[in-house]
């Protein structure tokens, strides 16, 4: 080994049998010993355990190792763990290299010989790279003590309250005129039958009155720049045309409005005026005007509301506002939509008025709903004598692209069946299900209770709904009886599943968040980081991450809030030192890189006539070094020399230390 040559320790992990069952770990560790610059190769049962880490620490101290390679799981899993371990022994954490022989080797291959060969190749490559790694210094930036919470349903409200209570500023963003989300539309919650509004509205009021919370209704997130601790969020706030502070929600304006439109809150089962309050408990308690539906302010056109409003809080000239907010963290609590039942024409939703979605039925049950809680057929206003509920509409259905279970619909329908029996004991209630998923606290007990109340649960997924002699007929294959039956009924309630909100994908692209295969936001780790995302400082709460019920939503919201609070309280955030560098004497000032950089981090120095890198703006993507014709740009930790060495080592069976020395003294590219 040459003088000043790096001294590398290679540690190969068995991961119990996760790696060892397909990779001959001992042979790989022995092979590592034959590689240039490797001073020691060891194998150990669990490298990430304390004794495993101690092994590395001890070797660094006793053998004077200058580089460490751990061949184990994905660097996305344990790179931070081992960087911490080597740092604890006085080594620069960027002199550590991780080699993925679990997720990308032992778990995906069957043949032990082939998997072992692959592991050897990967380690040879990792050792070549490790030889050429350079120490980097972490930098730190201050954290802006404010949080943007996107979406003000129960998830966003809870997260905002917790963060505000911890003493931090919160901007609570809501695209609708009122906060509250879907929970405000519910009559009762399962399985405790709490009145939804009674438990939600106090929280709505609390959050709106909290001195640390700034409510931004009719607002959407347009752009996000910056990084963890230092985000700039551009928000577009639509004009409300009513002064929120002045309006007392007296309703005089709506009384004179001649226009009528379907009320979104009641899902079109009732109407509202063009100037309106979405629902009586809306927060902020102020009216708002839909400028597209309004006839206009000119006296000839209409302008009646302007005259009716005594306090003169209506302002037709109000303008949309686009404003930037500086925040340290972002909580995504954008919730969900319900499945569009018109996608399944066989159920006749939209064709037969008495085929409703479960959310529409909820509005019929609600005392604040279009029928004041009186359950009647939409077609004739008569009470139904027979009602059918259908489970799994738009859930667990590959054909509509929703393979997942929406988790809440079973209990939602069971609760609605109970409400129906409670209001109309004489009504026949039948529920057609695929499987009943009553997994939560008190769920199974509630399901039992509702069965005892006389609701019939039949196993089978209806195939068709049609009309015959003024009645709805549900055709269903009863899978327990093993025969097809036709069930004549007065009303059908479709237990629609939950789907990502409209605009979900655009939001993901704006924030650079990933979506999982069910199209909801992807968490950083399915088990251990369920509220984090792949973007540091951006957290998930509620149904935005996947269907869940209210208690789970609140729990996740509190989790997201505490993550944001922990970040803000820490006050400092580590900034990745992996950024681009420019060799000034090699730069020909061709400006090619300048146009490529998505962050405007490359700035031309007029005095020196060279490009320079703003290392705060640079995110380290490496698009510029790959384009520089003069090879003047280097991306730290991913230099061309390092990548070339990795490639060469992968493709050649043997790499000598001389070769590594040659490539390390060569120029970039």
């Amino acid at each position: 080994m040459a003088k000043n040559a790096p001294k590398i320790g290679v540690y190969v992990c068995h991961c119990g049998i996760n790696i060892a069952s397909t990779v001959d770990v001992k042979a790989v560790a022995e092979y590592a010993m034959t590689l240039p610059n490797v001073a020691i190769g060891r194998d150990y049962m669990y490298m990430c355990s304390d004794p495993g880490q101690d092994l590395i620490k001890k070797d660094i101290k006793e053998m004077g190792l200058t580089r460490v390679v751990v061949a184990a799981c994905s660097p996305r899993m344990h790179e931070p763990t081992f960087r911490g371990a080597v740092f604890g022994s006085g080594m620069n954490p960027y002199l550590f290299e991780m080699c993925n022989i679990r997720e990308q080797c032992s778990w995906v291959h069957v043949d032990k010989t082939e998997a072992t060969e692959k592991a050897k190749d990967l380690i040879r490559s990792a050792v070549a790279r490790a030889s050429l790694l350079e120490p980097l210094e972490d930098r730190y930036a201050d954290v802006t003590k404010a949080v943007m919470v996107v979406g003000a349903g129960i998830a966003g409200i809870q997260a905002a309250l917790d963060i505000a209570e911890a003493g931090h500023k919160v901007y609570l963003l809501e695209k609708e005129p009122s906060i509250g989300g879907h929970m405000a539309q519910l009559d009762k919650t399962f399985p405790t039958l709490d009145c939804s509004a009674c438990i939600l509205t106090p929280k709505m009021v609390d959050v709106s009155r909290h001195p640390n919370v700034e409510l931004l209704t009719l607002s959407t997130l347009k752009k996000v720049s910056g990084f963890v601790g230092n985000f700039t969020v551009t928000v577009h706030q639509k004009a409300r045309y009513v002064d929120v502070k002045q309006c007392t929600a007296c309703g005089d304006c709506a009384k004179v409005c001649p226009q009528r439109f379907p009320n979104e809150f009641d899902l079109g089962l009732a109407t509202r005026t063009a100037i309106y309050q979405p629902f009586p408990q809306a927060v902020p308690a102020a009216f708002c005007r839909n400028e597209k539906q309004c006839l206009g302010s000119l006296p000839l056109a209409c302008g009646k509301c302007l005259q009716a409003c005594e306090k003169k809080c209506i302002d037709f000239d109000q303008k949309d506002i686009v404003r930037d907010y500086e925040v340290g963290a972002i909580v995504i609590a954008t919730g969900m939509d319900v499945f569009d039942a018109t996608t399944l024409p066989e159920f006749g939703y939209g064709k037969y008025p008495d085929v409703l979605t479960s959310l529409e039925f909820e509005r019929l049950c609600s005392a604040g709903g279009p029928t004041s809680g009186h359950i009647v057929k939409i077609s004739d206003g008569e009470e139904p004598k027979d009602v059918v509920f259908i489970h799994c509409v738009g859930s667990r259905d590959k054909q509509v692209g929703n393979e997942y279970c929406s988790r809440v619909c079973c209990m939602f329908i069971i609760k609605q069946a109970h409400l129906l029996k409670d209001k109309m004991p004489g009504c026949n209630v039948t529920s057609y299900y695929m499987d009943i998923r009553a997994y939560g606290k008190g769920f199974e007990e509630f399901y039992d209770r509702v069965r005892e109340e006389g609701v019939r649960f039949k196993r089978g997924k209806p195939s068709e709904i049609f009309r015959r002699k003024g009645k709805l007929v549900v055709r269903v294959d009863d899978t327990l009886l093993g025969k097809v039956i036709e069930h004549e009924t007065d009303m059908v309630v479709l237990g629609v599943g939950l789907v990502p909100t409209e605009g979900h994908r655009e939001l993901a692209q704006t924030l650079k968040l990933s979506l999982s295969s069910d199209r909801f936001f992807l968490e950083a780790h399915p088990k251990l980081r369920p509220v984090d995302t792949n973007i540091d400082g951006v957290y998930l709460a509620g149904c935005a991450q996947g269907p869940k019920d209210i208690p789970d939503t609140v729990a996740q919201a509190k989790g997201a809030a505490s993550s944001a609070i922990a970040l803000l309280n820490k006050g400092k955030v580590k900034v990745d030192p992996i950024v681009a560098d420019i060799k000034e004497d090699a730069c020909s000032s061709c400006h090619i890189c300048e146009a490529l950089c998505p962050y405007q981090a490359l700035i031309y120095d007029e005095q020196k006539h060279v490009m320079t890198v703003n290392q705060i703006l640079c995110k380290g993507c490496g698009v510029c070094p790959s384009a520089c014709p003069s090879a003047a740009i280097t991306l730290r930790h991913y230099t061309s020399v390092q990548i070339d060495a990795q490639l060469d080592a992968l493709l050649r069976k043997a790499v000598s230390s001389e070769q590594l020395a040659v490539s390390s003294s060569g120029t970039e590219a």
Partner: protein, 139 residues
């Protein structure tokens, strides 16, 4: 050709394709062991010279994995990769290397199956093409 075992190297961006490859592993999906993947932060880091070097050093195929259009963690790195790869494919043809030996694929962090399928299909394709006919030049 039956005993031809192709050498394939790949580059994957950390945020989408590499994470998708990890998910394929976590989900215990199986694919041929020929691919050796190098992790970069963004597919935009992949200098066409790395790809040429890989062919020069004896790779029979090169696999590039990035984020889906619109999903790039660094705004637009994958678009730049797309352009570069398209250009490079033309150049490869001129050098006598079949452009099909270079694969660009978009794999998101949730698409473990897509990754496994893409690697399987690409390995099969290289197997069909046979060993790269260009003699490797050594230093």
């Amino acid at each position: 050709m039956a005993d031809f075992n192709p050498k394939i190297v790949g580059f994957a961006c950390n945020w989408c394709c590499y994470a998708g490859a990890d998910l394929a592993g976590t989900s215990r999906m199986k694919y041929p062991p020929n691919l050796r993947l190098i992790r970069v932060m963004c597919s935009g880091r992949i200098d066409p010279q790395f790809i040429l070097r890989a062919f020069k050093e004896g790779a029979d195929g090169v696999f590039i994995g990035g984020c889906h259009p619109g999903d790039c963690h660094y705004v637009s790195g994958n678009y730049k990769t797309e352009k570069r790869i398209r250009l490079l494919k033309g150049l490869l043809a001129g050098l006598g290397i079949e452009p099909e030996r270079l694969e660009l694929n978009w794999v998101s962090a949730s698409e473990g199956q897509r990754f496994a399928d893409a690697v399987t299909a690409f390995t099969d394709r290289i197997r069909q093409l046979g060993p790269l006919g260009v003699v490797a030049v050594t230093h």
